[in-house]
């Protein structure tokens, strides 16, 4: 049986290991994977959905980069009796009727966890910048929304100086951080990055601009190796381990269940762990 996998990108710190996990597991399960990369372009993804349907595959795993735009494609897939699940990023509720399941992290919860962690680090007061992922991406919306809501909920005294989009991209984060550091300088007493690659970008910008000033506490997401090292060295405060491998495995395993005719849950989360200097040596980095 063939499964179409419309992934976010070929080359990305988080997405690539997820892709590899899916390919590897699919081989074990005897599933053929038709892997299509959107290269972070929604338009491309929408067109690739058509290819999947035309190809008459047995199932589709979609990594949505937009909460709405794929809905007609999902509807088409449903009309063609092709079961579709979403991986990693959520879509709006309207999409629910067209999909069998959404596997992946609870991104809203990640936002909340990040808020708690940063609030701890900053003692409940200070001013921060948020380096967000792609504008309009479901993950970005969830991670920023959960974060901001949680700060309000716990009555934190943390003020958000600015939120910028850096598209889950280290280099864009570097450029954006330079601007933020230029603009706010020492006013920045904390940083929330929507993932660790972007946290890395901020760290580099800070080291470049203020090599002699201590780094403000930074919270990231993903739990990748170099984030662990940064936590050890004190450059980062915490990260949230969200394993791309588990992300990928859950999706492909769920698809296998569906293809075998079994019922699956409409929402299947992957585990999340907050890592700080306290537990950094007890947890395995995600990748």
């Amino acid at each position: 049986q063939t499964v179409c996998y419309v992934t976010a990108a070929d080359a990305h710190a988080y997405v690539t290991p997820a892709n590899e996990a899916i390919d590897g597991r699919a081989a074990e399960l005897g599933l053929e994977i038709l892997s299509l990369s959107q290269n972070f372009d929604v338009q491309t993804g929408i067109e690739q959905m058509s290819t999947c349907i035309a190809r008459g595959v047995d199932g589709i795993i979609l990594w949505p980069l937009d909460p709405q735009a794929y809905i007609p494609g999902l509807a088409r897939a449903q009309a063609a009796d092709i079961p579709t699940i979403l991986i990693n990023s959520p879509m709006n509720e309207e999409a629910d009727q067209f999909i069998v399941s959404f596997t992946g992290p609870d991104v809203y919860e990640e936002g909340e966890m990040a808020a708690d962690s940063l609030n701890d680090a900053m003692g409940g007061a200070g001013s921060i910048v948020i380096i967000a992922g792609q504008a309009g991406n479901g993950t970005t919306i969830g991670r920023v929304g959960g974060f901001v809501d949680r700060l309000a909920e716990i009555g934190s005294g943390i003020e958000v100086l600015d939120t910028v989009n850096a598209d889950f991209d280290q280099q864009k984060a570097l450029v954006a951080s330079r601007d933020l550091i230029t603009r706010f300088g020492d006013e920045i007493t904390g940083v929330y990055a929507n993932d660790d690659t972007m946290a890395r970008g901020f760290i580099d910008a800070w080291l470049e601009a203020k090599p002699d000033t201590p780094m403000p506490p930074i919270v990231g997401i993903n739990g990748q190796k170099d984030a662990f090292e940064s936590i050890r060295s004190g450059e980062m405060y915490s990260t949230i381990v969200q394993s791309p491998i588990e992300d990928g495995l859950l999706a492909i395993n769920t698809m296998a269940e569906i293809l075998a005719g079994n019922e699956v849950e409409a929402r299947l989360p992957i585990p999340l762990t907050v890592v700080t200097s306290e537990n950094v040596d007890m947890v395995e980095p995600a990748f």
Partner: protein
């Protein structure tokens, strides 16, 4: 030699035929109505924009801003839905596209800014406006079920969009080959001095060319936004290159004066077929790009190096 000239003349058709033939043999499940209808549908977004760009390139100008106009028109069409209703909002979206074209025309024709530079600037400007209007967040429309209907396939062959594309190509073909204004377009792109001397206003035609190109990008953008029920500031950011490639593969010359509707159809279908076939085979995106790039370069190379017995006496300068 005769043979080469034959190849040269029908190169788009030949390349399309080869693509289809090879795909049919090597790609299992490729030959089917569904593949055809969906491949066509996929080509039609790029295709509608390509129609506009074909006209503009024939007139000897270029427009890099079509991708931004694509996004902006779609946003306008979605944004105004609550206020105006779906169809009127769509019309205003297309008009917004045309207005962008008028601005391009103003820069290029009135202020004499080279079209490459002018539309590079407006590419940034229109994209900024798109971000500004949406606050950089994609914006949802009012009726998702309409989008689902729009994506429907009729008679196992057409979606609304692909039917519109095909119809537009037909109109373009008639316009370019049969009408006076169509022929004047070629004259302006090929030798503006001779065209002026024959009483044709080259400036007016170039201006209208910009308006048309942007209006077509507007049509494509509005349709895309309706189909996705989303107006997004990031839509169309990868589009311009794909469109230029399709048009040039279709035999339209970037220096102006030569091109055809059927060529553009061929170019769009070739690229759609190629992409679909390679995706069927799970060929990685970067390999797909190598193949597409090679076809582009080889066709243009072929165009340059196979001499028809032409002896051009009027120097036609590059791009503008």
């Amino acid at each position: 030699m005769e043979f080469l000239i034959f190849l040269q003349k029908y190169r788009v058709g030949i390349v399309l035929g080869l693509t289809l033939a090879i795909s049919a043999v090597w790609v299992p499940g490729f030959v089917s109505l569904t593949t055809f209808s969906l491949g066509f549908d996929r080509g039609s977004t790029v295709g509608l924009v390509a129609i506009g760009l074909t006209v503009l390139l024939i007139a000897g100008k270029i427009d890099l801003s079509v991708g931004s106009v694509f996004a902006l028109s779609g946003i306008v069409a979605i944004m105004l839905q609550p206020a105006l209703g779906l169809w009127p909002a769509a019309v205003v979206g297309v008009l917004a596209g045309a207005a962008c074209g008028a601005f391009n025309g103003l820069l290029s024709v009135v202020f004499k800014v080279n079209s490459l530079v002018a539309t590079l600037a407006t590419m940034l400007i229109f994209r900024s406006i798109a971000h500004w209007l949406t606050d950089s967040q994609p914006m949802a429309g009012t009726d998702i079920m309409f989008s689902v209907r729009l994506a429907q396939i009729y008679f196992d062959l057409f979606t609304l969009r692909s039917a519109l594309f095909l119809f537009s190509i037909l109109l373009l073909h008639i316009w370019l080959s049969r009408t006076v204004s169509g022929r004047n377009l070629f004259a302006v792109g090929s030798n503006p001095v001779a065209a002026e001397a024959s009483g044709i206003s080259a400036d007016r035609i170039a201006f209208l060319g910009f308006v048309f190109a942007s209006a077509m990008a507007g049509v494509a953008g509005v349709l895309q936004s309706l189909a996705a029920n989303t107006g997004s500031p990031v839509f169309g950011s990868e589009m311009t290159v794909a469109v230029i490639a399709a048009v040039v593969v279709g035999g339209t010359r970037i220096e102006g004066g030569r091109g055809s509707a059927l060529g553009t159809l061929g170019g769009v279908l070739t690229i759609a077929a190629l992409t679909t076939a390679m995706e069927f085979q799970s060929v990685p995106a970067y390999v797909q790009r190598v193949v597409a790039g090679l076809i582009l370069i080889l066709l243009v190379l072929f165009d340059r190096t196979v001499p028809t017995n032409r002896r051009t006496n009027s120097a036609v300068t590059a791009a503008e």
